[in-house]
């Protein structure tokens, strides 16, 4: 039976020849991931049913990234609770303090995910690893507990929407603009319960960091996963980062799709998603003058070294608007070291930026850059819901690193072309 890449990975992990959309399966997982917010509930559930041991201590990964450095007593207690469990269970991949990075930037960097893997994570942006041609999806804490105990998890096989990106990318347009535009086109539930498969001539040339950005936001269209086919970029990345053996799958030419959507990239200009949904995306040039108070560059969406290189290109030799706070949040310790070694930190500091340690921090309104009522922030993050970054009357505008950097300089939502 012809199948999609997602169906093939699911079938392989369920130990069957093929699966079809709508079917319930219980596949084995290669990685079960939790963070400081979701893991405490998973541990409580684990204990409640009397479980004694995780199924495989090398496949359970805990990343204490949301409130790091711990913002208050409660968050420190949560981390302590998880740390003690991790110690008891001899969890190999437990990340905290100096080792911690934003989970979905950290796991690929550490080589914990390779093509063909099946990853579940108690964090909605677990879909990021689809960039590495893995099937990965966000679940809840009880799901995580079930996977920690049994090494398996129930799933309904999703149907797939194929997105074909054609044409030529305009200047300053990146994966972030493509995905914001795509979510704008189909809506925040446009791919509800479905798999998003990203293909086409534009995708073939898209570098890994931009694929991570796109897969990361599949959930913002309601998607179960977002996935790319493995190619030379994927294999180069996996080989450099991991000793695990990749398993390569590709959709059959006659695989069945619920829908096929073609997107002409030549028509896409740098995007911004206005409050309060990621689907409110527009060309920056169309939104008029929206004055801002803060800019955040970082997160699991856009906190990788390439993102900071681009931002530095815009900010080099410039000063940000005096009203604006510019937060630079490298997603992992490795990215932090890279922006230091490459001299990018000096550029950001000279421009007026504040350098934060790796953390999810303000993205979810945790800490390290919370907004007051009436304040507006341009962020390279993934959500702009009501109150997402602070006060219920604050606003978040989603954009790429270059739009964020240009906006910091101008003091309003702006694109690099406006700096001339």
């Amino acid at each position: 039976m012809p199948q999609t890449i997602s169906e093939k990975i699911l079938a392989a992990h369920a130990g069957v020849k093929s699966v079809k959309a709508g079917e319930f399966i219980e596949p084995k997982v290669d990685i079960a991931l939790g963070n400081d917010v979701t893991t405490p509930l998973a541990i409580k559930e684990f204990r409640k049913v009397g479980a004694k041991k995780v199924f495989d201590r090398s496949k359970v990964v805990f990343v204490m990234d949301h409130f790091t450095p711990n913002k208050d007593i409660n968050s420190a207690e949560q981390v302590k609770f998880i740390r003690e469990f991790a110690k008891e269970q001899k969890i190999i991949n437990y990340f905290e303090g100096t080792n911690v990075g934003v989970e979905h930037a950290l796991l690929p960097e550490k080589g914990l995910v390779v093509p063909g893997d099946l990853v579940i994570g108690a964090d909605s942006h677990t879909c990021t690893y689809g960039a590495l041609s893995a099937f990965s999806t966000g679940v809840g804490s009880t799901d995580l507990a079930a996977a920690m105990i049994t090494g398996k998890l129930w799933m309904k096989v999703p149907s797939t929407i194929k997105f074909i990106y054609t044409g030529k990318l305009n200047k300053w347009v990146s994966g972030k603009d493509l995905i914001l535009h795509t979510i704008g086109k189909i809506g925040v539930d446009g791919a509800l319960y479905q798999s998003m498969e990203f293909v086409g001539p534009v995708i073939d040339k898209l570098p890994m960091h931009e694929r991570f950005t796109m897969a990361n936001m599949a959930i913002e269209a309601g998607g179960k996963n977002g996935i790319f086919h493995p190619d030379k970029f994927t294999l180069e990345y996996a080989k450099k980062r991991s000793k695990k053996k990749p398993r390569l799958y590709a959709s059959d030419a006659d695989a069945k799709y619920a829908d096929v959507i073609e997107i002409d990239c030549s028509k896409i200009k740098p995007q911004v998603s206005l409050p309060f949904l990621p689907s409110n995306s527009k060309a920056v040039g169309e939104v008029g003058r929206i004055e801002i108070d803060q800019v955040v560059i970082g997160s699991c969406t856009n906190g990788r070294i390439e993102d900071f290189r681009l931002a530095a290109k815009i900010l080099k030799g410039k000063k940000i608007n005096s009203r604006v706070r510019l937060l630079i949040i490298p997603a992992t310790p490795e990215v932090y070291k890279q922006i230091l070694d490459e001299g990018l930190i000096s550029i950001f500091l000279a421009a007026g930026g504040i350098i934060s340690p790796p953390t999810c921090g303000p993205c979810l309104g945790g800490h390290m850059g919370i907004l007051a009522s009436g304040e507006r922030c341009v962020a390279t993050t993934n959500r702009n819901f009501v109150g997402r970054m602070g006060h219920v009357k604050s606003e978040v505008y989603l954009a790429s690193p270059v739009v964020a950097a240009a906006s910091a300089i101008k003091g309003y939502v702006a694109e690099p072309e406006q700096l001339k």
Binding site: H66, G138, V188, L192, G222, L277, G387
Partner: protein
Amino acid sequence: MKDNLILKGKAHKYGSNINTDEIIPARYLNTSDPAELAKHCMEDLDQDFMKKAKPGDFIVAETNFGCGSSREHAPISIKVAGISAVIAKSFARIFFRNSINIGLPILESEEAVNAIKAGDELEVNLASGVIKNITRSEVYQAQAFPQFMQDIIKKGGLLEYIKSR
């Protein structure tokens, strides 16, 4: 959850894409204490929700209820706040899973959501999926869950289901 439970209460009605940040803002996620989470249920959507909502009441919403984060704290806060079920046209995927897994009753019915107005008195039979609108003397039918999910619901949640096998 009992099989033949009849739930009774008032409807609190909301729109589309009610997200988990509105249901339980991240500023409260430094704890997983259910009682503490329940205090802030729906806070960023409707500040007075916990004052208005009585035990047994229903949340009724349009499409894509519970979109956003994977935080199980969201359905937990609703359940512990005493809400007997959420009725929506559709649910976001992770919220749907979480609700099934922790035993928060959820029902999908476009017909019911279109007809129910805020404040209507409802009576819901979870086993049959029949939603009675006492105020309007109307009856709606929610979609049946696939057998696999019904089994999880019957056992009272995912881990109990796993344990029973």
